[in-house]
C-alpha cells in the first residue's frame, strides 16, 4: 500500500452515555478515494467531523501525513470540505465564494482571479462567476462548493453526503464528474454516504460502518462479493437470508435440504446460521447433471422491475423456505417462466456466504 495519508487510531466519541464512535482505527492511503458507508446514525458523519476537527473526538489520535493533528482546531488542519447543504455564502457571487479562502491568504488580485477561473473551468462552470448561488441549480451549486473546497489546494477533501440533496439524474452525472476530478487531481478524498450504489461506483475502498464501529473495509468488489458480516451482506446490495444449521464445516441444512458451501472455520457445528446468496447469483440456465445445490422450485411471485424480473422462489421440498432471484427478460421468455412454473435452480457453492444467526 502507498504511504498513509491519514492514520486514525482508537478513535472514540461519546455524548454522555451514548457512544457515537467506539475505538475506530483506520488507514487511508495517499490519493485514495474512500467512502464511509452506513445507515443514518452509524457514526459516519461523526467520524468525518472528527477528522476535520469540527467536533473533536473524546479520545484517540489522528495523524495526517505523519503529523499528529488530534487536538488541532480545524483551521490548523489541511482539508477542504463540502457539506450536504453546500453552505455557499448566498450574498457573495460565485467568484467571491470560490475565492473566499484565497483572499485571506493575501495573494495578488490577478492571481486569485486566475485561480478562480481555473477552478470554475475545472468544475465545468466557466461562466458562472458573476452569478449568485440562488441563481444556480442544485447541481451547479454543488460544483461551486467543490471548487471553493479545492481552491486552497488542500491535500485532503472531505465530502459529507454531497449528492443526497440532488435529483436522481443529476446525482448520477455528478458521481462520474467528482470521481474523474478526484482522479485528475489525485487528492485524497473521503466521502460520507448512505447510498451503497454511490459508494460502490465511486470509491477505491469502502468503509462500512454500523452502530459506531467499522464492520468491514475493502474494495467495492470485496465488499460486494465477500461481505464479512451479516450486516454488510444485508446493507450492501440485495441478499437472501436462509435460516438453517451448520451440519459440517462445508454443509448447511436448510428446511430439510442440505447445501454445500465454502468451508467455515469460525462457526461451531450444529450452530444456527444463515445461508446467504444474492438474487443475481441464483443459476437457472444450462444446469449440468450432478451440479451442486440443485433445488426444484415453484415461482410464487414475479415482479417486473424493468430490465429484469425479481422472482420469489418457493422451494418445493420445503415450502416455507423462499428466496428471491433476478431473471433477465430473455430468460423469462426463453424458459416461458410464469407464476406457478416449476423449474430447477442451483445455488453455486462459491457464491454462498454463511453467517451466524
Amino acid at each position: 500500500m502507498a504511504m498513509s495519508h491519514l492514520e486514525v487510531r482508537n478513535l472514540s466519541k461519546r455524548f454522555g452515555d451514548f457512544t457515537a464512535l467506539g475505538d475506530i482505527s483506520l488507514d487511508i492511503a495517499e490519493g485514495e478515494f474512500v467512502c464511509f458507508l452506513g445507515p443514518s446514525g452509524c457514526g459516519k458523519t461523526t467520524l468525518l467531523r472528527a477528522i476535520a476537527g469540527l467536533d473533536p473526538q473524546s479520545s484517540g489520535t489522528i495523524r495526517q501525513k505523519g503529523r499528529d493533528v488530534s487536538a488541532l482546531p480545524p483551521a490548523q488542519r489541511d482539508f477542504g470540505i463540502v457539506f450536504q447543504s453546500y453552505a455557499l455564502f448566498p450574498n457573495l457571487t460565485v467568484t467571491d465564494n470560490v475565492g473566499y479562502g484565497l483572499v485571506s491568504r493575501r495573494q495578488a488580485r490577478g492571481a486569485i482571479a486566475k485561480r478562480v477561473n481555473e477552478l470554475l473551468t475545472l468544475v465545468g462552470l466557466p461562466d458562472a462567476g458573476p452569478k449568485y448561488p440562488a441563481q444556480l441549480s442544485g447541481g451547479q451549486q454543488q460544483r461551486v462548493a467543490l471548487a471553493r473546497a479545492l481552491a486552497t489546494s488542500p491535500s485532503l477533501l472531505l465530502l459529507d453526503e454531497p449528492l443526497s440533496a440532488l435529483d436522481a439524474r443529476v446525482r448520477l452525472r455528478l458521481r462520474h464528474e467528482i470521481k474523474a476530478l478526484q482522479r485528475t487531481l489525485g487528492v485524497t478524498t473521503i466521502m460520507v454516504t448512505h447510498d451503497q450504489e454511490e459508494a460502490l461506483t465511486m470509491a477505491d475502498r469502502i468503509v462500512v460502518m454500523n452502530q459506531g464501529a467499522i464492520d468491514q473495509v475493502g474494495t467495492p468488489q470485496e465488499i460486494y462479493r465477500h461481505p464479512t458480516t451479516a450486516f454488510v451482506a444485508d446493507f450492501v446490495g440485495s441478499m437472501n437470508f436462509l435460516p438453517g444449521t451448520l451440519l459440517a464445516p462445508d454443509k448447511v441444512k436448510v428446511g430439510g435440504l442440505t447445501f454445500d458451501c465454502p468451508a467455515q472455520d469460525g462457526l461451531a457445528l450444529s450452530q444456527k446460521v444463515n445461508l446467504c446468496i444474492r438474487p443475481e447469483d441464483v443459476r437457472v440456465r444450462d444446469l449440468p447433471a450432478g451440479i451442486a445445490n440443485r433445488v426444484p422450485i415453484e415461482i410464487a411471485d414475479l415482479d417486473f422491475v424493468g430490465a429484469f424480473c425479481r422472482a420469489l422462489l418457493k422451494v418445493r421440498a420445503a415450502p416455507d423456505v423462499t428466496m428471491t432471484a433476478d431473471f433477465s427478460s430473455n430468460l423469462i421468455r426463453d424458459l416461458g417462466v410464469q407464476l406457478g412454473s416449476h423449474l430447477d435452480v442451483a445455488l453455486p457453492p462459491d457464491r454462498l456466504r454463511v453467517f451466524a444467526a
Partner: protein, 565 residues
C-alpha cells in the same frame, strides 16, 4: 488489525483556535455586561427590600408592613382587577381583528393593519390624555359614563387602546400560519363552518391566545403612564412604586412594591415560556398556505367590525391631536400652535424632545450592535455551555421585569456611592444603557432567530478555508441578517421614544426625555401641552417606522440582489 489489549486512553483535550479563544472572551465580556446592566441592578433591588431607610438589614419587616398596610395591599388587588378586565376585553377584540386581517378578504387590508399598530408609536399616557378630553371633568361626553373617568374605567379604556396592537400582532401571526389542507379536509368531511372554527381554527391559535393574554396582562400590570394620568385615586402597583420613591423617598418600600410588581410579570413570563415550548411546528414544510376566498356576508361583517375598531383607535389619537391644537379647552376651541411652545410649560422646552432623539438613536445603535453581536457570540461559540447559559438567562430576564422595577434597580445599583460605575448616574449614557437593558430580550430573540435560519456550516467552511471567523461575520453573516438588524434598531428606537416607566427615575435636569416631560407637564395641569408632546413623539416614531418599511421594500431590494432567483 492487531488484537493487542488497547492502550490506556487519555481523554483528548482539543486545542482551541484563536477564533475559539476570541469568541469565548467575547461571551465572557457579554456575560459581564449583562450582569452589570441587568443582573446586579435587580439584585440591588432585591436586597433593598430587606433594609431600613438607613440601609440596615431588617429581614422581612418591610414586607410585613406592606401586607399589613391596607392602602398598599389594595393597590395590588386593583392592579390585578384592571389587568384581568383588560385581558378579557382586549384578547377577544384582537382575535376578531386578527382573524379579519388574516382569514377574510378585507378591502384596504394594509390600512386596517396600519391603523391597528398606531398605539405602539405613542407613549402610554396618550390614551389617558385623550380620555381626559373626552370624558374628564370638562369632557365632551362627561355625563355619558355615569361617573368620573378617573379611576378604574379610565384606566381600562386606555389600556385596551394601548394593548390592542400587541395582542393583534401575536394573534395575526398565530392565525397567519394555517394549513389549507386541514380546511379542505374538514370541508370534504362536511363539517359546518362553526365546527371547523372550533375544531381547526381555534386549536391552531391556542398558543397565540395564551401568549396574547399573558402579554396583555403583563403590559397592563406593569404600565405606569396610563394609571398616572387617569388613575385618580385608584392606586395601582406601578403608581405606588413612583409615589413611594419620588413622593415619600421611601426607597425600601418602593423596592418591596417593585417586587410585588415583578412577581406576576415574572410568573406570566414563565408560563408563556412553558407553553411556547409545548408548541410544535403546526406548519410543516409540506403545508399549503391558506389564502382566504371572498364570502360576502363574512367579509361585510368583518369590514364593519374593523371599521368600528379603527374608528375607535383613530378617535383617541385624533382627540389627543385636536386637544393639542386647542387654545383653552373647553371654553375657547379656536386652534393654536401655542401648546407646542414647550418652553412655556417645562424648563427644558424642546430640548427634552432632542434628548429623546439622541437617546433613541444611541439605544438603537449601541443596542443593536450589542444584541446582534451578543446573540451571534452565544449561538456560534463552541462548548463553554455554563457561561453561555448565564448569558441566555440574563438576556431573557428583562422580558420578565417591568420597566419601573428595572429603573428602581438602577437607582439602587448605580447611585450607590461605593459603585465605581456611579459616575454614570444622571447621564445620558445611563438612559441609553437602561433602555437597551429593558428591551434586550426581544432584540436578542430576533437576532437569535435570524441566526438560526442561516446555514450552521458557514463557520466550519470558513475554518476549513482558514478564514478568521470575524471576517465571515462581517462579510456573510451580518449582511445576510441585515433585515433582522434593522428590525431590532427600529424596535429599540420606537420604544426608546415612547418609554416612560423605566427612565422616570433616571433622568437628570439636562437629560430629561420627551415622554418624561409629558408626564411632568401633565402633572402641572397643562394637558394640551402634554398631548402636544405625545403627538410629536407619535409622529417621530411612526415616521421612522414608515421609513423603515420603505427602506425594506426599496433599498434592501437593491442591496440584496442575491435574494432574487
Amino acid at each position: 488489525m492487531s488484537l493487542a489489549a488497547p492502550a490506556p486512553r487519555s481523554v483528548l483535550r482539543a486545542n482551541l483556535s484563536r477564533d475559539d479563544l476570541m469568541m469565548r472572551a467575547g461571551v465572557v465580556v457579554l456575560a459581564g455586561m449583562l450582569l452589570l446592566i441587568v443582573g446586579l441592578p435587580l439584585w440591588a433591588l432585591l436586597a433593598k427590600g430587606f433594609e431600613d431607610r438607613e440601609g440596615r438589614f431588617i429581614g422581612l419587616a418591610n414586607y410585613l408592613s406592606y401586607f399589613s398596610t391596607p392602602a398598599l395591599f389594595d393597590s395590588a388587588l386593583n392592579s390585578f382587577e384592571v389587568a384581568a378586565a383588560a385581558t378579557l376585553i382586549v384578547v377577544p377584540l384582537a382575535f376578531l381583528y386578527a382573524y379579519a386581517l388574516t382569514r377574510t378578504v378585507l378591502p384596504a387590508r394594509w390600512l386596517f393593519q396600519g391603523i391597528s399598530l398606531i398605539p405602539i408609536f405613542a407613549p402610554s399616557l396618550l390614551p389617558g390624555l385623550a380620555l381626559v378630553y373626552l370624558f374628564g371633568n370638562q369632557g365632551f361626553f362627561k355625563g355619558m359614563l355615569g361617573g368620573p373617568i378617573y379611576g378604574f374605567d379610565g384606566i381600562l379604556i386606555a389600556q385596551v387602546f394601548y394593548c390592542f396592537p400587541h395582542a393583534t400582532l401575536i394573534l395575526a401571526t398565530a392565525l397567519a400560519t394555517a394549513d389549507a389542507r386541514l380546511y379542505e379536509a374538514a370541508d370534504a368531511l362536511g363539517a359546518s363552518k362553526l365546527r371547523v372554527f372550533f375544531t381547526v381554527t381555534l386549536p391552531g391559535a391556542k398558543y397565540g391566545l395564551i401568549s396574547a393574554a399573558l402579554v396583555v396582562f403583563t403590559l397592563v400590570i406593569t404600565d405606569f403612564g396610563i394609571a398616572k394620568v387617569i388613575g385618580g385615586n385608584f392606586n395601582v402597583l406601578a403608581t405606588d412604586v413612583y409615589k413611594q420613591v419620588i413622593g415619600q423617598q421611601n426607597f425600601s418600600m418602593g423596592a418591596v412594591v417593585g417586587m410585588m410588581l415583578l412577581a406576576p410579570a415574572a410568573l406570566a413570563f414563565v408560563i408563556d415560556r412553558v407553553v411556547q415550548r409545548k408548541q410544535v411546528a403546526l406548519l410543516t414544510a409540506r403545508a399549503v398556505p391558506l389564502s382566504p376566498k371572498p364570502r360576502l356576508g363574512r367579509d361585510a361583517f368583518f369590514t364593519a367590525f374593523c371599521t368600528v375598531i379603527s374608528f375607535g383607535i383613530l378617535a383617541i389619537l385624533g382627540m389627543a391631536a385636536w386637544g393639542s391644537l386647542i387654545k383653552y379647552w373647553p371654553y375657547n376651541l379656536s386652534l393654536t400652535l401655542g401648546n407646542y411652545q414647550f418652553a412655556n410649560f417645562d424648563a427644558n422646552g424642546w430640548d427634552s424632545y432632542f434628548n429623546s432623539l439622541r437617546m433613541a438613536a444611541g439605544a438603537a445603535i449601541f443596542g443593536t450592535v450589542l444584541m446582534f453581536v451578543g446573540a451571534w457570540l452565544n449561538e456560534k461559540t463552541k462548548g463553554f455551555g455554563a457561561v453561555r447559559g448565564i448569558v441566555q438567562f440574563l438576556a431573557f430576564l428583562p422580558m420578565a421585569v417591568p420597566g419601573i422595577v428595572l429603573g428602581l434597580g438602577y437607582i439602587f445599583f448605580f447611585n450607590a456611592p461605593n459603585n465605581p460605575l456611579n459616575f454614570l448616574y444622571a447621564t445620558m449614557a445611563i438612559l441609553v444603557i437602561n433602555t437597551v437593558a429593558h428591551y434586550y430580550t426581544v432584540g436578542h430573540l430576533t437576532a437569535t432567530t435570524a441566526l438560526k435560519q442561516i446555514d450552521p456550516e458557514f463557520e466550519s467552511v470558513s475554518a476549513s478555508l482558514k478564514v478568521p471567523v470575524w471576517r465571515t461575520f462581517a462579510r456573510v453573516t451580518a449582511p445576510i441578517c441585515l433585515p433582522a438588524i434593522l428590525d431590532i434598531a427600529i424596535y429599540l428606537f420606537v420604544n426608546a421614544m415612547t418609554t416612560v416607566s423605566s427612565v422616570i427615575f433616571l433622568y437628570a435636569p439636562d437629560t430629561k426625555l420627551a415622554s418624561v416631560a409629558a408626564v411632568n407637564i401633565e402633572e402641572a395641569g397643562a394637558t394640551a401641552a402634554a398631548a402636544a408632546l405625545c403627538i410629536v413623539i407619535v409622529i417621530t416614531s411612526a415616521t421612522v417606522k414608515a421609513l423603515h418599511i420603505l427602506a425594506d421594500r426599496f433599498l434592501l431590494g437593491r442591496l440584496q440582489a442575491w435574494r432574487r432567483r
